[in-house]
Structures are given as C-alpha cells and as structure tokens.
Amino acid sequence: MALNTLERERQRRERRTLAALLAPGLLWLTLFLALPLMIILAYSFMTNGPRGNIVWQFTLGNYIDLFTRSIYVNAYLRSIWISILTTLICLLLGYPLALFIVRQPPRWRTALLFLVLIPFWTNFLVRIYAWQILLANNGLINGALSSLGLPPLTLLNTEGATLLGLVYGELPFMVLPIYAALDRFDFTLMEAAADLGASKRRAFWRVMLPMTMPGVAAGSVLVFIPTIGQFVVSELLGGAKVDYLGNLIQRLFLRSNPPNWPLGSAMAMAMMLALLVLILVYFRATTEENR
C-alpha cells in the first residue's frame, strides 16, 4: 500500500516534469502555428466585402470558385507541374552528385559536402538576383557570347529561367538526404550482386536504388513542398508573367483591389491539405521501407 502511494507519487512527479518540459513548446505551437492556421481556416469560409473587408458570413463560395474556375485551377496545375519538373531534375542531378561524394575518401567527402552547403551562407533572394545579373540581356552570359561574336540569347524572364532558379535553390535539399542514405548503404552488396551475375545497371536498379529509396523520398518531399508555394523565383527570374499558386495567393492578399483574404485563405488551405496528403503518403512509404 505504502509502496503503491510512493510509486504513484513518483509517477505524478514525472508527469509534472514532462508537462513542464513540454509546455513551452506546446504553447509556442498553439500560439504561432495552430491559432493562425485556425484563423486562416475561418477566413476561408467568410465572404469578401466590397472594400476587401472580411464579412462574417459563412460561404463555401471560395472553395467552389477554387475548384471550378479555370483561372484558379490552372494556377494549381501549373504549380504542380513545375514542382514535379523541379523535383525530377533535382533528383537526376542530385543522385549522381551524392553518389560521387560518398565514393570519395573521407576528407574529400567533408570538403565536398561543405561546398554543397556553402550557398546557404547567402540569402536566397540575393542569390536569385545574382542569377538576374548572369542571365540578363546585357548580363554576363550574353556579354561573353557577344565578345565571341555570337548572337545574344533571351535567358532571363522565361519559364526556363524560373525552372533553373528553382532547381538551383532546391538542389541541396535533394543531395543531403540521398547522401545520408548512400552513406549508410553497404557497397559490398554491389559486389555481391555482381558475383551473383547482375550487371552494374541491374545491381543499381535492384539493390542500391531500393535501399536508398528513403533518402530519395525525403529529398523529393523536401524539394516538392517549398516549390509548390514559391512566388519569388517566378517573379524575379520569370518576369512575373505567369501566375503560380504562390503568386496568386500573394496577390489576393496584398495587391488586388479590393484584396480578397477569404479566397486567398481558401487557396492556401487547399494547398496545405494537398501537401498534407502527400506527406502522409511519404510517411507511410518510408515506414514500410524501414520494416
């Protein structure tokens, strides 16, 4: 009996410690994540007033517009399409790069990884402006071309430039998780596969790639998610000529007259929901891999 009380007392104290430790984090998340999200969710069901004021009148109209009006549906499709392209290109560039780094002697490996991380020392916006300077009509690349007597190219303000900027910005997020996966990969398995008669290509597809799939999946999610909401790259390198989802949301909140926060909120919520599904699929896939 006395022991039980003692035990219960200990448990209670443990719970209290746990609560005290968790409280700051939970409070932070509630105040700065859950609450704002709830507000956005609430806005998305409200009516937009004539001056961009929010009228507290429930409507499903924003969501209906979103999924039925082609101008909005197209923005979604465009964003998904460029995000898929960005992810694929990052994968095609990132996997060989990670593999190359992993196969180097240890001291080189650190140096090379370091190089992958160096761009983060500079603000992303500044680096995108650097691309403007490279790609502009009278930029560095066209300057070099003309000094060779070649005709200038239109590089900046194209969708290609947007794609380039996105791939450039997101590539490290693909390389790092794949590197981590390859680092744990036992390369003697490749020799074993060869001994058993598999060609190099076959060994890659049947052994190495499946075993490093969690890294590929993690990298893909890390690249895909920020890309789908981006609006800066398409504005600065694409010349703001084509709306992606992020551009449209930003415009509805800040630039349109009147602003339309309810519709912008609905767009943001729909995007978040789609990404949530994607992440759930990803978790499902990776936990099965690990089993």
Partner: protein, 388 residues
Amino acid sequence: MILKQRSLAGLVLALCMALLAACGGGTASPGNEYGGGGATTPAGGTSAEGVDRNRLSRELYFYNWSDYIDPDLLAQFEALYGVRVIVDTYDSNEDMIAKLRAGNSGYDVVAPSDYAVAIMAAEKLAAPLDATLAPNLVHLDPDLLDQPFDPGNTISVPYFYGITGIAYNARSFPEGIDSWAALFDTSVIAAYRGKFSMLDDERETPGAALRYLGHSLNETDPAVLQQVEALLIAQKPYLAAYNSADVNRKLASEEYVIAHAWSGSALQARSGLEGEFSGNPDIRFVIPREGGMIWMDNLVIVADSPNSYTAHVFINFLLDPEVAARNAEWTGFLTPNQDALPLLSEELQALYAEGFAPDDEVRQRLEWAIRNEQTAVFTDLWTVVKGR
C-alpha cells in the same frame, strides 16, 4: 498607392546595394546638404508661432511608405517643437488599412493614396481635418485639392503625387514617342522583344491598354475588357517582364529600352539613386497623347489618434513650401505644393519642365483610377492575363 509597392525583393536588393556602396565609400545620405541634425536653427518660414506648445504630445507616430520622407525634416521638426516623430513603413494601402481596421494601431498620421482615402472615410478610420490648424494649406495647387476621393478635403491633405506614362531611352527612339502604340502595337514592339516592361499592377497595365483603345481607364464594359484582355495577351510574348519593383534600375542600365513607368521611377532612372545606381542621361518620360494615369498620396490623421493637435502641427509643417521642396528633392516624387516649385533645385526644375511633371496641357490627358464594386473585375482580368 498601388503604384509604389516595393516588393520585399526590391528592398533586399536595395539593402545589398547600399551595403556594396558602403564598401565603396560613397554613402552620403541624400539630402544631408541641408545640414541635417536637429539643434541648428530651423529654416526660415517654419516658425513655431501660433502653436500651443502645451497641447503638443511628446511623440508622434507616422505610418508612411518607405523612403517617403527626408529624415532631416524629422530632426528639424523635433528641434522646432520638441516632438519626436517615429516613422514606421508599409508597402501597400491594403496593408496599412488592415492595421487601422484592427483598431488601436498606435499611429497618428498615415499616407493613403487617393482611393484609399475614400476607403478610410467609408470605414470611419480618419479624423476630421481642421483647416484652421493648417494655414499652410494655401500653398497647395488648387487643381489637386477637392478631389472626388475627398470632396472639400475634410480628412486629407495632398502629400505627393505622380503620373504614369512611358519612359524610354532616347538613343533607341531618337524620334521620340507620343503613343501607347510603342508598347502595344505588335508590329512595332517586335523590334525590341524582351527589352521592355509593363507595370505589374492590375489597374495600371489594363488602364494603359484602355487609354490606347480610346476608353477611360475606369471602363468596365465587358466587351471592352475583352479587347483589353486580347491586347494584353498579344503583347505578352514580346514583354520582358511585368515589373513594378526596379524599372528605374533596368532603364538606367539599358536592360530595358522602353517601359511603362511612374514618373518617379523614370526620374530616378534619369538622375540615378544615390548609393544604388547612377543615372542615364538618355532617359525621357512622356504621357502619351491617348492619356495616362495620375495618382496622389495624402496625409490623413487616424480616427483614434489621441494626438490630433500635434498631427495637425506636423501636417502644417510638411506643407511649408521650403520643407515641401526639400522633401521633394529627397524623395523624387512630385510635390502638390505650388509655392515649393520655385524653391526646387535648377536641375529638378529643368527635369520637371522636360516632362517628368505634367504641364497644363498634359494634365488634360490625365485620369484618376476609381475603385468601386465594378472595378473589382480588373482582378479577374489580370488573373486571366497572367494565366496565359
């Protein structure tokens, strides 16, 4: 104003450039030729007479566009009246109004654009203006007073204004330009494909197209807007960019040879922006014969400001011709203060005369953008154009 939205990106770039310039050693802040710093004798014309110092607050919160007041003037105001003015900045009228709507913003004076003044009036966000406390109102250009967004100027006072037309490089267009055709006629613009920009603004760019087609820039007839949409979509493949952020810089560096631009950015392209980029003497600005847009930012006292008296004193101070002239030199925007015009530097007066400010003839061709429930269709039109 919809017009001066500086994107975050623009700001960051400006910061970097400022840093770079700092490394180069040339960071004299613009305007300090006037002997900034508070304690010196105030410039003539701004006397503290007629001001009841006992009614002044210690501080005044001014919510303003970025880079939109000469900081030396704030020091001068403090030296004169002992009131410290704290400036906070915003990038869009919508941002500013959203803050005021929430209540208890803590701001005393704001600088809404024309249509935003009307919104503030409709939502009772503005305090009444007592003209007897602002005798310097007499210096303002009567043409810019009593506008439809605030008949009788019961809540607002003009601060700066600007016009929207075409900025171009005279070396590429030695004959000059006098029509929007230079930006819309596909048989002409093919020659400078990828070397011109239109403003990234749902009212400005369709507005220019409307004027080109011979309509008011407030026209909302669906049949006409259909034509506007077709015109803008036809123009798009030739366009370098929709750009409202750094047209000035790109004109100066000749990345663009011609652009749909605000007079202020054209002026900056011409004369340079200290610490950021040098000017290009070939830049010209014109309001095409079909007409262009005029807009104006105004000083308004916030409804729940406890410092209304101090706010009036501050507004009256800014309306002083000498103060207004210094402010106009510093910001590069057009002053509505007609008695300030003769006090401007010779260079600036010459630029104004050359077309960077409207004369009486040009004013006939300028139109204000109206915003009401009908004009909300421009958001959709713009989304369609951007969707192609």
